[in-house]
Structures are given as structure tokens and as C-alpha cells.
């Protein structure tokens, strides 16, 4: 029978291979799913893994999707490493978008391009405030950050709804729930004409480097990680768990807010009820599959973007529902967690042990059992 045996030291090979293995398992399950749905699995895999990288345009679209995922996942990586469970990045994303929209709508025909910086900063600030509520309630009242941050996602969604159905509704918008289309001057500068990818990508790559330095070369990063790995050791060392809490939440809130601002002032160009695209939740998966490591996150963000785009293509080309994306993403995280076991454990075949003469043992145990019942009576 199969047995799990603890490894004396964590396997570095498996640390890298585990996401690959998880992906392989997900692909296998996906193939089975395609067949069950009556579609050609090869076409399905093609749509998910080849089409999104086929052309320059496809690659830039990949970048457009990956940018918010990278930004949010970097912040979440810091959170999860510190054992702060920020599940509400989606809400911080939304509030960042709302704040950004608010600033964007103050622009008029004379405003210069500098307003973009302000718009993005507003997004960061909005996300930080929303995450700050979670930090405050945890710090002051010991309220569980998982549930509070999650509840705030629903609240943020409602606030967005209120704004676009109410005070910010475009009077010339035929009563659709949406704001005005922002002026050209407020839109995030694109990198190349004709493609949607914008400076958000540059920001994301800079952030990857910055977060790497933070986590692995600064004392602050070391303190955060120790806080997550061994809270008693952090206390012994004198690392402030309160500072870790606020740092992790404000950082991740700011990143999520930035992503929201980039989305609203970039591809969307206005505020609608459909701003929350689930990036805040997908980023959780990106963070984990990326091993909570800035470089790994880049790869996993690309992978997840492929799932997104593949899902859209599967809908238009193969007539499959877009929600397939969600299934694959969830499945990937699930299989990753299972495969991660191999980092700390080995799988061994254990031959059945030769049993001593059966009748004697059985007789002994049953006599003893009878004796016990006798004694207890």
C-alpha cells in the first residue's frame, strides 16, 4: 500500500516542480472535461494554451490580463507570508477603482497628462483605506481578517452599485448604470499604438523587483516572514506583530487599489457595475501557484491569464461557457495544494508486514478483551 513518509529536509526540486505537476493534473482533468462536454480535447487545449501566445497582439492581451494579477498577487504574497489572510483584495480593487474614477472625473478639457499620476495614486489610496479598515478592526478588536475583508467585498460591490446607479450616473448615458467615459487625458498611457497594453505592465515589473528586494534583502521583509513562519520566534526577536499586520494589509490594499485604478482608467475608461472581474480572487490563486515568490508570480500570472483568455476564446470558438475558466482556476489551486505535499513527504510502497501466528494473537486479545469486560462489570 502507499505510504507517506516525511522527508528530513524539504525538497527544493519539488518546490519548483509542484506547480508544474499541478498544471499537468489540471490539464488531464480538463481534457476529460472537454470529452465529456462533447468537444475535441485537442482543440480545447489549443484554445487555452496556444492561441493566447500565437501573435504579438495575443501576447499584449496576455500582458493586459496579467498586469492586475501580478500587482495584486505581489501584495497578497506579502500578506500570506506574514500569516495575514487578506481575502478581500477584490473589494480593495473596487474601491481603488472608485477613487480613481472620482479623480478622473474632475478632469476637464484643459487638464494635462499629469492627472494620470493623480488617478493612480488615488487608486492606491482608496485600496489602502479599504484594507486599513480590516487592519484596524483586527488590531483594535481582534476581529478575524478573513471574514471582515470578505464582507467588505460585498459592501464595496454595493457602494459601486450605488455610485453608478446614483450620483455618478452619466446623464447622457441613456439611463445605463455607468459613469461618463473619462477624458482622453486621464487614460493610462499605452505602450505601443494599436495595442491595449499600457504602462501598468512596466509598473508591475518594477513592483516584482521591488517586492523581491523587500522580501529577501531587507530586515523588514525578514521580520514579516518570521511573523508568519513562527509567531513565537517573532515575539522572542521583538518583531512587532502589529506593524506586520498594518504593513501587510496596507501594502496589499494599495496594490489592489492600483490594479483597480489601472483597470478603470485604462481598458475600461469608465466605471460600471462590471468592474469587479474577480481579479482579487484569482490573484489568490496566482500568489499560491507562484509559490508566494515575486518571480514565480510572474509565471503563474501568465498561466492564469491564459486561462482567462482561453475561456473567452472557448466561448466564442467552441461554444463552451466562460465559467470554464473559473473551474480550471479553482482546480489548479486544489491540485497545487495536493502536490505541495510532495515537498515535505515522499510516497513509498510499503509491503504488508508478516504477521505473527494468527490464532495465538487473536486468542490472546479476545481473552484479554473478555477479561476487561469481566473486570469492568
Amino acid at each position: 500500500m502507499l505510504k507517506l513518509e516525511a522527508r528530513p529536509e524539504a525538497s527544493k526540486v519539488m518546490s519548483v516542480m509542484s506547480p508544474v505537476l499541478a498544471l499537468a493534473v489540471t490539464v488531464v482533468i480538463g481534457t476529460v472535461l472537454f470529452v465529456l462536454l462533447g468537444k475535441d480535447p485537442m482543440r480545447g487545449l489549443y484554445v487555452f494554451f496556444v492561441e493566447p501566445v500565437k501573435s504579438v497582439y495575443a501576447l499584449t492581451e496576455l500582458a493586459v490580463k496579467a498586469t492586475p494579477l501580478i500587482l495584486i498577487a505581489l501584495g497578497l504574497a506579502v500578506c500570506f507570508r506574514s500569516n495575514v489572510w487578506n481575502i478581500g483584495a477584490e473589494g480593495q480593487f473596487i474601491v481603488g477603482g472608485i477613487a480613481a474614477a472620482g479623480v478622473a472625473m474632475t478632469a476637464d478639457k484643459e487638464t494635462g497628462r499629469w492627472i494620470v499620476a493623480l488617478v493612480l495614486l488615488a487608486g492606491v489610496f482608496g485600496g489602502m483605506v479599504w484594507a486599513g479598515i480590516v487592519a484596524f478592526l483586527r488590531d483594535r478588536f481582534n476581529a478575524n481578517e478573513i471574514l471582515v475583508s470578505l464582507m467588505l467585498v460585498y459592501v464595496a460591490d454595493q457602494v459601486l452599485g450605488y455610485m453608478v446607479y446614483g450620483p455618478w450616473k452619466d446623464p447622457a448615458g441613456f439611463n445605463f448604470p455607468q459613469t461618463i467615459t473619462f477624458l482622453k487625458s486621464t487614460s493610462v498611457p499605452k505602450l505601443f499604438p494599436g495595442f491595449r497594453v499600457n504602462i501598468g505592465l512596466i509598473l508591475a515589473l518594477i513592483a516584482v523587483a521591488a517586492f523581491w528586494v523587500l522580501l529577501f534583502r531587507t530586515y523588514a521583509g525578514f521580520q514579516l516572514q518570521v511573523g508568519g513562519l513562527a509567531p513565537a520566534a517573532a515575539r522572542y526577536a521583538g518583531f512587532s506583530s502589529r506593524r506586520a499586520l498594518w504593513t501587510a494589509l496596507l501594502l496589499s490594499g494599495g496594490m489592489a487599489g492600483l490594479a483597480g485604478a489601472l483597470e478603470v482608467a485604462g481598458p475600461l475608461g469608465q466605471l460600471t457595475p462590471y468592474v469587479p472581474a474577480g481579479y482579487g480572487f484569482a490573484a489568490i490563486i496566482v500568489a499560491y501557484v507562484g509559490r508566494l515568490h515575486p518571480v514565480g508570480i510572474v509565471f503563474s500570472a501568465i498561466l492564469m491569464s491564459m486561462f482567462y483568455i482561453g475561456g473567452e476564446l472557448a466561448q466564442s470558438r467552441l461554444g463552451l461557457p466562460k465559467s470554464l475558466t473559473g473551474v480550471f482556476q479553482g482546480l489548479l489551486l486544489f491540485t497545487l495544494l495536493a502536490c505541495d505535499t510532495l515537498i515535505h513527504y515522499r510516497v513509498r510502497w510499503q509491503a504488508a508486514r508478516p504477521a505473527p501466528p494468527k490464532p495465538a494473537a487473536a486468542a490472546l486479545v479476545s481473552t484479554a478483551a473478555a477479561a476487561t469486560t469481566e473486570r469492568a462489570a
Binding site: 513518509e5 516525511a6 522527508r7 528530513p8 529536509e9 524539504a10 534583502r217 531587507t218 530586515y219 523588514a220 525578514f222 518570521v226 513562519l229 513562527a230 513565537a232 520566534a233 515575539r235 522572542y236 526577536a237 521583538g238 512587532s240 508486514r353 504477521a355 505473527p356 501466528p357 495465538a360 494473537a361 490472546l364 486479545v365 484479554a368 478483551a369 476487561t372 469486560t373 473486570r375 469492568a376
Partner: protein
């Protein structure tokens, strides 16, 4: 005694072996226990005693060999089967549930068929018979450590065991309580119960046990009658040599380094202990030892001194005359106060991080003021500690959890000693550490003291405290006794003080003085 035939043995282990991934915990081990015999299993930490017991108790299966019960081979698959045979175990770390009552705890340890009320009744009878009084209706978290052990023992006794296994039972008892336990055990043995007594305390084994199997590195090095052996002889079997002797020089006292006065601190944890008006001093060049049974406030006192707990009342803790009562651990370290906690993995070191990274917990010389960490300097420091303190490990990149207990402790103690502290506080310096490493650590502590550092040691091992400390105090129920020079203290006296009775001794001395 007559010839020992195979059939007259209660329990026998024949060529038992158990292999774990990194180590062969038991290698062709043999054990023979007669009915009514108190049989010691002696060995230092890591010798394989607990693995052997786990196999007898059914928690672990042997890879090779045979276990025989009353002459017949048996296959013990789980603790329930062991209990059915009549084997019962009292653990070193209690298997008790804090939020449940003593009776409920005992009930869970029995195999069905009795109601809770019946269990409570029978408990009282057993308690009275053996002198192990505990109120069945009290929740376990309100019991002292000694009382909790009584619950464990009563739970074992209620299964009417033919073989009772006790794992290091006296580490949580005062010397007086140890004597009382021995009375209980002798009574049980006289009734025909076999007792397996696991310990590394030579004096106890020689006083109590009829027979002794010595383990070293997973193998049996000898089976002797401890009543006929000396400590040196047993020690030779246990570690292959005589216990190492430490050099003592006369203490050269300097100024008062640590002054604690009026330290009263309410407990932080619901299950903790309040500290009450604690007062003592430590001078440069001396070692002050704090003796006491675990659970009497040591944890809380250590946290207050190390800075993990900053709630101490103002002016209750002074370092070189400066009030540090509310300082953080980092600030205290800057002032020269370093601390080694009793938990190595998880508190003194982060298990999954490398030794190099673990130096950063308390040593920040390699961190620039900007916060940038110079990884090269961090590695160099770790290498220096490994070399200087003789730490057996793969290198500075080895994960902390890959080291043996003794080597990790050498590293952690070394990390703090190397920081050139003015005051070093160490909690349980050699707990769970092999004899060789323990001797080295004690030698290092003495060396530090000879150089003029002040040291404060908390330990549950009285022998250790008597060996290296210049003065002793005792902590009991959150209060600390007056201090006494080690040379003028006796084990009996400290034992009494551990029950909080130091006023009696002081009063007696005053009487003598006046007489």
C-alpha cells in the same frame, strides 16, 4: 530468584528493530521484564527509549523482531490492543484535556462500558488506595502539574494494568513528591504489576529499580541490577564514558547587573500564573539559578525579563540601574541583555529557515541602518558560530529543524554568548540535549561567568543547578524565595522550598540563631 524461564516473563522484546528515514532508532533491542519487577530503561536523550516504549504501547509498529506477552508472541496494532493486554502508559507530556474535568479525562482513557458517574466513583476509590488524591470534578486546567500527573496515573491504574510504563515521571515533581511516587510504585510492584521506568536520572534508578536495561544509540549496551552499580558505572554504559567534570573557580563578584523589585504581573493567558512581588538580584561574575517545578510562573517571569511581555510595572526591572521594565526585546539586547528560551524550534529558532537566517533573529550586525541585509556577513556569522561552538550540521544553509536537539541548542546558546552579553538569561539550558552537548553548554556558561558576565539560569534539573550555580532561588506559585548560596543549600531544603515553604526554613534558622 531462581532461573528465569521464558514462560515466567511478563514482557519480552526479542531483537526488536525500528528504522526511521534518517536514523535507526532501535537496533536489535532485547528487553526482559518479570511480573512485579520495577525495570528501568536508561539512556540519554535520543538513545531510543521513547521509540521502544511506543512499540510496546502500540503507537508504532516494529520493523523486525518479536514482542512476547506472558510467553506468547503478540502483534500490538494500536493503544487499545495494548490496553486490552494490560499495558498502560503514563506519558511524560500528559495526554490530558484542559477544558474537561479529571473524571471526564479518565473516562476517555477507558474503553467504554462505564458511565461517567461510575468512573468518578471508582476514581475516588483508587485514589484513596494509593494516596493519589485529586477531585474528579475539577477541570484539569485548574490542577497543578503534580496533580495532573496523578490524574494520568489514576487513569492508567483504572485499567488494572499488568505492566505500567512511566516516561520520565519525576521531571515535574519536587523531591518530596518523588518519594511519595516511589511508595505508590513499590506498592504496585508488590501486587504483581510490572513497571517500566524510563529515566535518565541515575540516583532515582538506583534507589527504586530492580533491574535496568541501558540504551545507547539505539542498541542495548547492558542489562544490570542498578542497586549493585555506581553512578559512574551506569554512566559509562549510558554514554560510553564517565560524566565529564566541570572546572569551577571561585566567583569574582562585580556590581549588581539585574535588579528585580516588586515585580507583580497578572497572567496574560487564561491558563497562566500570576507573578507576585518578585525580588532578586544578579551580580556580574555570578550565576543565579531559579529552581522550581514547571508551571509555577517560570514562563511568565522569563517573558517579563526577556521583553516578550512588556507589561511589567514601571521600575520593577533594572539593568545597570536603568529601568527596562517596558522595553522591547530589541532594546534590551542593545543594553546587553540576551535570552535563550526553552523552546528551541519555533521560538529560539525558526524551523524552516537556515541557520544563517536564524542569526538575524537576535543579531543585527549585518543589517545596515537602511534595513538592507548583507547576506554575506550573515553567512559568515553563522559559520563562525558553527565552528566556535562545535555545532554538527551540514553548514550555515542547513535548516534549523535538520539539527539534532543538542546541536541546535549549542547554536542558539552560542549565538547569544557570541554577542558578548552583560546579562545572559537561559531557560532550561540542557533540556532534551545529549550528555556531551549538555556538558559543553554548561562549560560555556561557566566560561562566560568567569569572564564577568552575569547569568540567570532557570532549570527543572536540580542536579544541573547545583552543579553550575553560585546562588539559588526557588519559584513557587508565582513567588520567589530569598536566595541561598549553593554551597549552603541541600536538595531536601530546595525540595521544601519548591512547595513554597521557604518561610519555614527561614523561621527555623532565625530560631537557631536566637537559641
Amino acid at each position: 530468584m531462581g532461573s528465569i524461564t521464558q514462560d515466567s516473563l511478563r514482557l519480552e522484546l526479542v531483537n526488536i528493530s525500528k528504522q526511521y528515514p534518517a536514523v535507526k532508532a532501535n537496533d536489535s533491542v532485547n528487553l526482559r521484564v518479570e511480573p512485579g519487577e520495577i525495570h528501568a530503561v536508561l539512556g540519554e536523550n535520543g538513545a531510543g527509549k521513547s521509540t521502544m516504549m511506543k512499540m510496546i504501547y502500540g503507537a508504532v509498529r516494529p520493523d523486525e523482531g518479536e514482542i512476547r506477552w506472558n510467553g506468547q508472541a503478540v502483534n500490538i496494532r494500536n493503544p487499545q490492543e495494548a490496553r486490552a493486554l494490560g499495558i498502560s502508559m503514563v506519558f511524560q507530556h500528559f495526554s490530558l484535556f484542559d477544558t474537561l474535568t479529571a473524571a471526564e479525562n479518565v473516562w476517555l482513557g477507558l474503553d467504554k462500558s462505564l458511565t461517567l458517574a461510575e468512573v468518578a466513583q471508582r476514581m475516588t476509590k483508587v485514589e484513596q488506595e494509593y494516596g493519589l488524591e485529586v477531585d474528579p470534578q475539577r477541570p484539569v486546567h485548574t490542577l497543578s502539574v503534580g496533580e495532573r500527573q496523578r490524574v494520568e496515573i489514576v487513569r492508567a491504574l483504572m485499567t488494572k494494568p499488568k505492566c505500567l510504563i512511566l516516561d520520565e515521571p519525576t521531571s515535574v515533581l519536587t523531591p518530596q513528591a518523588v518519594d511519595k511516587l516511589f511508595v505508590v510504585l513499590r506498592k504496585l510492584a508488590s501486587e504483581g504489576t510490572s513497571i517500566l521506568y524510563i529515566s535518565h536520572k541515575l540516583d532515582e534508578i538506583r534507589a527504586l529499580c530492580h533491574n535496568c536495561t541501558v540504551l545507547r544509540g539505539g542498541k542495548v549496551t547492558g542489562t544490570v541490577d542498578p542497586r549493585l552499580e555506581t553512578n559512574a558505572g551506569l554512566s559509562r554504559l549510558m554514554i560510553g564514558a564517565e560524566p565529564p567534570q566541570l572546572q569551577h573557580i571561585q566567583a569574582r563578584l562585580g556590581d549588581v547587573v539585574l535588579a528585580v523589585r516588586g515585580l507583580t504581573l497578572p497572567k496574560e493567558d487564561h491558563f497562566g500564573m500570576n507573578l507576585s512581588d518578585i525580588r532578586f538580584e544578579v551580580r556580574a561574575g555570578e550565576i543565579l539559578g531559579i529552581a522550581g517545578v514547571s508551571g509555577n510562573g517560570q514562563q511568565e517571569l522569563m517573558a517579563a525579563l526577556s521583553g516578550e511581555d512588556t507589561r511589567a510595572p514601571a521600575s520593577s526591572i533594572h539593568l545597570f540601574g536603568k529601568d527596562i521594565s517596558n522595553h522591547s526585546p530589541r532594546r534590551r539586547r542593545k543594553e546587553g541583555l540576551h535570552f535563550v528560551p526553552e523552546e528551541r524550534l519555533g521560538r529560539g529558532a525558526v524551523p524552516t529557515l537556515s541557520l544563517a537566517a536564524n542569526t538575524l533573529l537576535t543579531r543585527t550586525e549585518a543589517v545596515a541602518s537602511s534595513g538592507w541585509v548583507r547576506t554575506k556577513d550573515v553567512t559568515t556569522l553563522a559559520q563562525e558560530l558553527i565552528r566556535r561552538f562545535n555545532v554538527k550540521t551540514g553548514g550555515p544553509d542547513a535548516a534549523a529543524k535538520s539539527l539534532s536537539g543538542g546541536n541546535l541548542q549549542k547554536f542558539i546558546v552560542g549565538r547569544e554568548i557570541h554577542a558578548d552579553p552583560k546579562l545572559l538569561i537561559v531557560s532550561q539550558p540542557t533540556w532534551g540535549v545529549d550528555v556531551g552537548a549538555a556538558a559543553q553548554i554548561r562549560g560555556e556558561l561557566l566560561g562566560l561567568r568567569d569572564k564577568g558576565c552575569a547569568l540567570l539560569i532557570v532549570s527543572e534539573e536540580l542536579d544541573e543547578l547545583f552543579e553550575i550555580c553560585d546562588r539559588l532561588v526557588v519559584i513557587a506559585q508565582g513567588k520567589v524565595s530569598p536566595s541561598v548560596a549553593t554551597s549552603q543549600a541541600t536538595i531536601e531544603m530546595i525540595g521544601e522550598w519548591m512547595s513554597g515553604l521557604w518561610n519555614k526554613t527561614v523561621a527555623k534558622e532565625t530560631d537557631h540563631a536566637e537559641a
